[in-house]
């Protein structure tokens, strides 16, 4: 059993078996095969028979020229007894311009077009070759891409036989089941997994026919699944010259790992070494969730051609959020009080909002609940974002009006079952990477669909529409809210966002609910005379600063979008003008450090906000709203 499964609080999840069918919401642990991964040079089982091994694990694996181009890729497997063969190198030969560049941030080398690496001394009549590569797609599906070939020496076969007898491994064809081909010499095999723009493990088991089979045969496997046998292979396979590359692909082929054992390995050994490559380079192991009923068959496996039609790790493929989902925002501010009621708020960083979502999934069946709880429990197993960050969050669509490509970290889950086979689940999740430097917004974003970029020919406006106005002047740039009558046409320049009789506003124009309460506390200093009395003194000036909560209940989706965009744009610390309700009716400066939103039902949103009065002149330079365009030169 995978350690993943033992770490879950859910039973009845098994490792994937492509001979089985599965039901929608079933969960599998995909591990390529059930064998243990074995490092190719591991000698704990006795002699390895390892003939050569090329990978990108260490910089010492390469001889480089001054331009970081590869002179040679060293055979990782050192043959101690024979000093001459300790480094049986694959060398780029005479033409220095064809040497491939090595990028030390990558765990592969990439060979384009006619770039290649070649070397001699690898002859073995019976061998088992493992290669892990990623071939880019080519515009011409029928062009054949070379992966590698065996021959007596470079060009020998061409000069003597024309099309053979080099021993070739190649790929070609449109990337679909039945059309993509993996080719040994001239023999084509139907690929069962995608062959372009994805990692592939190809295993070739070459037998001479002197023992076992009746004649020379190469058995080919793709990602652990046997594709077939090829009898009477070309004589090049018996020679010791290898040429890696010369791919005929201008988009390149990435070579991750290639190693070869002398002799024919057992089935369990094949599985173990394929498992090593799979675990080392693929990011495909772990849990998958069935988004529909899955018939048996390898092509339906997560690596197979139709696997993505059946299996997913995308939560949006499995579940949709329910009403009652909510969001809470609070600004991360460094606040300084200067006395006399003056203060400053400085955003601590560019991710200035603490954004926590409560994601509701109601009315789930037991099978759905099992799937969602497992998904939740497994989220820390996501791949690491980078060397300097933790694991990736869950990429998902949030509810309106929030962005569709949010990355959330699932924190808590609350699961309740009101009745047999009815489950309600609420997941608390946090969004971390929403930058207040992004002019499109943090979580309520300019998407040119619901929030559009204004232009003179933009048509169709309704009350509470939000538009973004681009301008070279900072004071004009930003989000404007339409407060005019509904129109299907364009807005005249005079009524436009920057017009003299504008139907747009940048101010806070929303009206709170009829029921409101505004508490007020006078800021006083008191002197407590012991055993006598107190004396109250006013604490400087501006002692009547307000801090109050307002509600905007049952608001339409459009008004909620405008409201939440307004607060999102203010990022929790920017100052805006607000007119107090009856009986105050005074316009004051406030900022909104906290707000929450609940999506009750379609066109029914509750928004609660906290306003804090700010006693200082609103200075526009407190806003950092620079739009930076990156252009290539």
């Amino acid at each position: 059993m995978s350690y993943l499964l033992s770490g879950l609080n859910i039973q009845n999840i098994s490792e994937y078996d492509y001979t089985q069918s599965y039901n929608k919401y079933d969960i599998i642990d995909f591990q390529l095969n059930a064998e243990k991964s074995i490092y190719p040079s591991y000698t704990g089982l006795g002699g390895t028979g390892l003939l050569f091994w090329f990978n990108n694990e260490y910089i010492e694996s390469f001889d480089l020229d001054l331009n970081n181009n590869i002179i040679s890729w060293k055979n990782k497997y050192a043959i101690i007894e024979d000093e001459d063969q300790q480094y049986a190198n694959l060398l780029q030969l005479s033409d220095e311009t064809l040497r491939p560049f090595v990028n030390f941030n990558n765990n592969y080398i990439e060979l384009f077009e006619d770039q290649f690496l070649s070397g001699s001394g690898f002859d073995c009549p019976e061998k088992t070759i493992f290669i892990c590569f990623n071939a880019s797609s080519n515009q011409d599906n029928n062009s054949v891409q070379n992966i590698f070939r065996f021959d007596r020496e470079d060009g020998w076969a061409e000069s003597n036989f024309g099309t053979g007898p080099s021993g070739y491994l190649r790929i070609k064809g449109k990337d679909s089941l039945g059309e993509s081909k993996i080719i040994i010499d001239e023999q084509e095999f139907n690929a069962i997994c995608p062959i372009y723009d994805t990692l592939n493990i190809i295993t070739l088991i070459q037998e001479s026919g002197t023992s076992g089979p009746s004649g020379p045969v190469i058995t080919i496997r793709q990602n652990g699944k046997e594709l077939g046998n090829y009898y009477d292979y070309y004589s090049g396979w018996l020679s010791g010259f290898i040429k890696l590359g010369d791919t005929n692909n201008s988009n390149g082929v990435k070579y991750y790992d290639m190693f070869c054992f002398s002799g024919v390995l057992s089935e369990s050994e094949l599985d173990s070494y394929e498992k090593y490559l799979f675990e080392e380079y693929f990011d495909s192991d772990g849990l998958y969730f069935a988004k529909k009923d899955v018939p048996a068959g390898f092509s339906k496996s997560p690596l197979g051609y139709t696997g993505s039609d059946y299996w997913t790790r995308n939560i949006d493929d499995l579940f949709k959020l329910s009403y009652g989902s909510s969001a809470e925002f609070s600004a991360k501010l460094s606040k300084s009080n200067f006395g006399d009621g003056y203060q400053s708020n400085i955003s601590r960083n560019i991710n200035s909002l603490n954004s926590v979502f409560s994601l509701n999934y109601d009315g789930l069946t037991d099978a759905q609940a099992k799937c969602l709880i497992t998904y939740f429990e497994n989220t820390p197993e996501a791949k690491v974002k980078s060397l300097y960050e933790g694991f990736s969050g869950v990429s998902m669509n949030l509810f309106q009006p929030y962005k569709k490509n949010a990355e959330l970290y699932f924190l808590d889950i609350d699961h309740s079952t009101p009745y047999n086979n009815i489950n309600n689940i609420s997941i608390k999740a946090e969004s971390l990477y929403d930058s207040n430097l992004d002019y499109r917004g943090m979580l309520v974003q300019l998407d040119d669909l619901n929030i559009r970029t204004y232009s003179d020919d933009l048509e169709g406006f309704e009350y509470n529409d939000v538009v973004y106005v681009e301008s070279i002047f900072f004071s004009e740039r930003g989000y404007y809210y339409y407060t005019g009558a509904k129109t299907n046409g364009v807005i005249s320049e005079n009524n436009g966002p920057l017009g003299n009789d504008s139907h747009f506003t940048k101010e806070f124009y929303f009206k709170q609910d009829v029921d409101y309460s505004i508490p007020e506390q006078i800021r006083l200093v008191n002197i407590d005379y012991e055993s006598s009395t107190k004396e109250y003194l006013k604490d400087g000036i501006n002692y009547n600063n307000l801090e109050f909560n307002l509600s905007f209940s049952n608001r339409s989706n459009k008004e909620a979008r405008a409201l939440l965009k307004f607060f999102d744009d203010k990022a929790g610390f920017k100052i805006f003008r607000y007119t107090l309700p009856q009986p105050y009716n005074k316009e004051i400066d406030v900022y909104c450090p906290e707000w929450s939103h609940t999506y009750n039902f379609y066109n029914n949103n509750d928004i609660r906000v906290k306003f804090t009065q700010f006693k200082a002149k609103s200075l526009e330079f407190t806003n950092f709203n620079t739009k930076i365009d990156f252009v290539s030169i």
């Binding site: 329910s322 009815i422 009206k511 609910d513 339409s556």
Partner: protein
């Protein structure tokens, strides 16, 4: 002048199957809240839930009751209902009931919740030919031959759910005068965001109940009631079996009514909470 559309022999179909209905009621209700702003103005009326429709109908049982009307079963799927050129595709049965009175045909009452759009402005006068050509049912359930199995209602030992034991007299039911049956469940609806038609209409609180009148109900109930299991057999006037309904529950209410000049009449109700064991997932 008002135009009244006359209907006879209502064309009523559930899942394309004809039902000989005597009446159908269709209604819908929207839940809205007024949004009043701080300046005293009314912004709008906001929906707090989906439009939930209700459909009640009475029909004669002319065959076995189809499985999609088994409200206490595990099938939660919607049925389509059509009558008078109105079609509702998202109807969810939530109760059925019937009374068995001496010599009366048996009329099934069914009620549904429904969601989604329904076109109600297209009511048309019923076609005369269509009405005349309507097939008449071969069988109609009638109380004449239908009965409730009273022999095994308390089991062979006459156990009362609390004590029982050797030497105890067998608890028996007298002659049944009439009885009724009902089964029901709640249909909570669940919605995905941005949708107003539910993604699931589940079932919970599934109940069956039989009310019966008899001249004798045997021993009086104890604190645990009386375990009671029985089956209702519905047949047509000539004894053709049409449908049966089993209830395995507890007889919890028992009453004896005697009034001057009348016969003694005992009434009781047998209730069953319908459950199903969880399927291991």
């Amino acid at each position: 002048m008002a135009k009244f559309i006359n209907y006879r022999n209502i064309d009523f179909k559930i899942n394309s199957q004809n039902f000989y209905s005597s009446q159908i009621n269709l209604s819908a209700s929207a839940s809205v809240d007024a949004v009043v702003l701080s300046d005293g103005s009314l912004l709008n009326y906001a929906p707090s839930s989906a439009v939930v429709g209700s459909l009640d109908c009475d029909f004669y049982l002319t065959g076995s009751l189809p499985s999609f009307l088994n409200v206490t079963g595990i099938d939660e799927s919607a049925v389509s209902v059509s009558f008078a050129d109105v079609t509702i595709t998202g109807a969810y049965p939530k109760s059925i009931s019937f009374n068995v009175e001496p010599f009366q045909p048996i009329l099934i009452s069914a009620s549904f919740d429904w969601y989604g759009n329904v076109k109600v402005e297209g009511f048309k006068e019923q076609g005369v030919l269509k009405r005349l050509r309507k097939e008449t049912p071969e069988y109609i359930a009638n109380a004449y031959k239908s009965y409730l199995d009273k022999e095994s209602i308390f089991g062979s030992s006459g156990q009362d759910g609390s004590s029982g034991g050797a030497g105890q007299a067998v608890d028996t039911l007298g002659d049944i005068v009439s009885f009724s049956y009902s089964s029901s469940c709640d249909r909570p609806s669940f919605f995905n965001v941005d949708e107003v038609i539910p993604s699931r209409v589940a079932k919970l609180n599934k109940q069956c109940e039989i009310n019966l009148s008899s001249n004798n109900l045997g021993k009086l109930v104890s604190i645990n009631g009386k375990n009671a299991t029985t089956t209702i057999y519905l047949k047509d006037f000539y004894g053709t079996s049409l449908s049966s309904f089993q209830v395995s529950g507890v007889l919890s209410n028992q009453s004896y009514n005697v009034s001057n000049g009348q016969y003694l009449l005992a009434e009781a109700s047998i209730q069953q909470t319908v459950t199903e064991r969880k399927t291991l997932v």
